[in-house]
C-alpha cells in the first residue's frame, strides 16, 4: 500500500538527514542531527528536527571504578503544541533521559576512565517527530567526536504504522547496534543465526499496533538503519581527514 505522507514521501523514504560534528567550541565533543521536513505548500519556512548534543567531562567524581554517564534532555517548550501543560513535557524529558542513559550505558566502555563523569546534554532546537531516534543518533556522533572509546555505536530509527489515509496510528522507536563488523568486508558475526546488527538495543512503542505490524516495522527499521549508518559514517570519515 503506497501511503503518501503529507510531504509527498512514500512508505520507505526517509527524510533528508543532515549531520555535523564539532559545532560547539566549549564542549569536548558535539554533534547536530537534523531531519528536514519539506512542505509541499507555499513555503513559509522549513521545519527542521534539529538536535544538538554536546559532551562535557566533569571534574573527577568519586564513582568507584566505573565511569558514570549523566544525561540531560532539554526540550524546547512549545506552547501551542502542549497547550500549556508543563507536567507532560517534564515527564517526557525524564523518560527520554532514562532511555538514552540505558541505551548508551550498554555500548560505552565505562571502565576506561574511572572516577570521572561524562555529561551528555541534548538540546532540542525544533521538534517535528522522531525525536528520540534523532537524540540517540546525535549522542553517538558526539561521543565519537569527543574521542570517547565505545564498544559499539547505536543507530536509531522511528517507524510508524499508518492507517489508510496516512493518519498515523502508532509508532515505534528502535535502536540497533552499529558495530564495526558491518564495515569489514569479511562479513558480520552472527548470533543464533541472526547477524549482530539485528539485535535490538532499545525499542519503545507508542499506541496500539498488532504483533505482526511490530515485527514488520522491525524489518523496515533494520533496512532503513543501514542508510542512516551510512550518513553518520560519511560524516565521521570527513572528520578523520
Amino acid at each position: 500500500m503506497e501511503v503518501d505522507g503529507e510531504d509527498g514521501r512514500t512508505q520507505n523514504q526517509l527524510r533528508p538527514l543532515a549531520c555535523s560534528h564539532n559545532i560547539l567550541y566549549r564542549a569536548h565533543g558535539s554533534a547536530s542531527w537534523s531531519l528536514r521536513t519539506r512542505t509541499l505548500r507555499k513555503q513559509t519556512g522549513q521545519i527542521d528536527n534539529l538536535l544538538k548534543s554536546h559532551l562535557m567531562r566533569m571534574r573527577p567524581w568519586l564513582n568507584g571504578n566505573k565511569e558514570a554517564l549523566e544525561f540531560k534532555f532539554l526540550h524546547v517548550w512549545e506552547w501551542f503544541r502542549y497547550s500549556g501543560l508543563p507536567v507532560r513535557v517534564q515527564l517526557l524529558e525524564e523518560e527520554y533521559e532514562m532511555i538514552l542513559k540505558r541505551t548508551l550505558q550498554s555500548i560505552c566502555l565505562l571502565t576506561i576512565n574511572p572516577n570521572t563523569t561524562t555529561s551528555i546534554i541534548i538540546q532540542v532546537i525544533n521538534d517535528d517527530g522522531a525525536l528520540l531516534s534523532c537524540a540517540i543518533n546525535a549522542a553517538c556522533v558526539a561521543l565519537v567526536d569527543a574521542g570517547i572509546p565505545t564498544e559499539h555505536l547505536a543507530v536509531a530509527i522511528c517507524c510508524c504504522v499508518a492507517k489508510s489515509g496516512c493518519k498515523m496510528k502508532a509508532f515505534a522507536y528502535l535502536a540497533f547496534l552499529n558495530c564495526v563488523h558491518s564495515v569489514l568486508p569479511e562479513g558480520s558475526s552472527s548470533v543464533q543465526g541472526e547477524p549482530i546488527e539485528h539485535g535490538i538495543v532499545t525499542s519503545v512503542t507508542n499506541d496500539i499496533m498488532s504483533e505482526d505490524n511490530y515485527f514488520y516495522s522491525l524489518e523496515r527499521g533494520r533496512a532503513a538503519s543501514v542508510r542512516v549508518v551510512r550518513v553518520s559514517q560519511e560524516e565521521l570519515a570527513t572528520a578523520l581527514n
Partner: protein, 300 residues
C-alpha cells in the same frame, strides 16, 4: 588465580547468604543452569498476584494490587469540570504515580525516585492509548460539564516489576469505580446529590454507574540475561541483570506497548517472540484474577 577461580573455591566454603551478597551474578547463574530461581520459581512464572478492591473507602474507586511483595494502591476521585473546546463531549483522566520513601531504602525523602517519572509516563501513555476507557462516557452535559478522573497510584513496597503492578492496580480501580450521582442546582451548577433523595432536583444521571471497560491492557516485565528470559523479576534480579523488557497486551492480543530501554543484552526477534508468548499466558492469568476479585465484591 583469577576471580573466577576464587569464587569457585569459596562457593563450597562460604555461607549461602554471604555468597549471594558477594557474587550475586554467579549465585543467580548457578540457579539458572538448573532452570530455577532462588525463590523456587521456574523461569517463566510470575509471583503470586492478589487484588483487593475498595481499599480506600473515601475514593470513588480504588484497588490494592500485590504481585509478590510489590504493593501498589490506586485510588480514583472524580470531579466535575468544563471540557475543553476541542473535545466538548469527552471527559479527562489525570494519572499520577508516586513513590514515597516508604517503598524502598533506595528512595530518600525529599528526592523523587528515579523510576517514578518513567513509570508515570509509561502508565499514562498505556492507559490512554489502549482505549480501555471511552472518554465520551465521562461526559455529563455536552460542552458544559464532564468528569475529570484523578487516578493516583502509590507504591507501598517496591520489589521489582513496578509497572506491572501499577497497571494492574489502575485497571482494578477503574473496574471498581462508581460514578457518583449529580444534579443541577438552581444556580446552574452541578452538585453531588444526597443519598436518600431528599432533594427535589432532577438528577443528571440516574444512579451510580460503573464505566464500561473495553480491551483491558495487562503487562508482563521480563529480564533478559544471556539466553535466559526471567519473567516478573524481583528488585534484586532487576538490579543485577540490567536488560528489562516490558510487554503490554490487551485482551484482543494487540500489542499496546513494547518497552525495552537499552541494556547490555540485545534482543533478537526470537527473544521478543518468547516475551510476547509469556505475556499472553500472563494476560489469561490476570484476567481470571481480576474477574474473581470483581465477582467477590458483587456478592457483598
Amino acid at each position: 588465580m583469577g576471580l573466577s577461580n576464587a569464587s569457585g573455591d569459596l562457593s563450597t566454603e562460604v555461607e549461602v547468604d554471604a555468597f549471594r551478597c558477594l557474587f550475586p551474578l554467579r549465585f543467580y547463574e548457578k540457579h539458572l543452569l538448573e532452570s530455577i530461581r532462588p525463590d523456587a520459581r521456574p523461569l517463566g512464572r510470575a509471583r503470586e498476584t492478589t487484588i483487593a478492591l475498595g481499599a480506600v473507602a473515601s475514593a470513588n474507586g480504588s484497588a490494592l494490587a500485590k504481585i509478590g511483595s510489590t504493593t501498589m494502591l490506586a485510588a480514583i476521585k472524580m470531579e466535575v469540570m468544563t471540557p475543553s473546546l476541542e473535545t466538548p463531549d469527552e471527559g479527562c483522566i489525570a494519572i499520577d504515580f508516586h513513590m514515597p520513601p516508604i517503598c524502598s531504602p533506595i528512595v530518600r525523602p525529599g528526592r523523587p525516585a528515579e523510576a517514578a517519572p518513567v513509570v508515570a509516563k509509561q502508565l499514562s501513555d498505556t492507559i490512554l492509548s489502549s482505549g480501555m476507557i471511552n472518554l465520551k462516557e465521562l461526559s455529563l452535559v455536552s460542552g458544559k460539564a464532564a468528569w475529570m478522573a484523578y487516578l493516583d497510584i502509590y507504591c507501598l513496597d517496591a520489589d521489582g516489576a513496578l509497572f506491572d503492578t501499577a497497571l494492574l492496580s489502575a485497571v482494578a480501580a477503574f473496574s471498581h469505580l462508581e460514578i457518583p450521582v449529580v444534579s443541577l442546582n438552581d444556580d446552574g451548577k452541578i452538585v453531588l446529590s444526597e443519598e436518600q433523595g431528599l432533594s427535589d432536583r432532577e438528577p443528571v444521571n440516574k444512579e451510580k454507574r460503573k464505566i464500561n471497560l473495553s480491551s483491558i491492557p495487562f503487562s508482563l516485565t521480563c529480564v533478559l540475561h544471556k539466553n535466559y528470559i526471567l519473567a516478573d523479576p524481583t528488585a534484586e534480579e532487576e538490579s543485577i541483570m540490567d536488560t528489562i523488557v516490558t510487554v503490554v497486551l490487551d485482551s484482543s492480543s494487540q500489542l499496546v506497548s513494547l518497552h525495552k530501554p537499552g541494556g547490555t543484552v540485545l534482543a533478537y526477534t526470537s527473544a521478543i517472540q518468547d516475551c510476547i508468548a509469556l505475556t499472553r499466558q500472563r494476560v489469561k492469568e490476570l484476567q481470571k484474577i481480576l474477574e474473581e476479585a470483581i465477582s467477590g465484591m458483587e456478592v457483598d
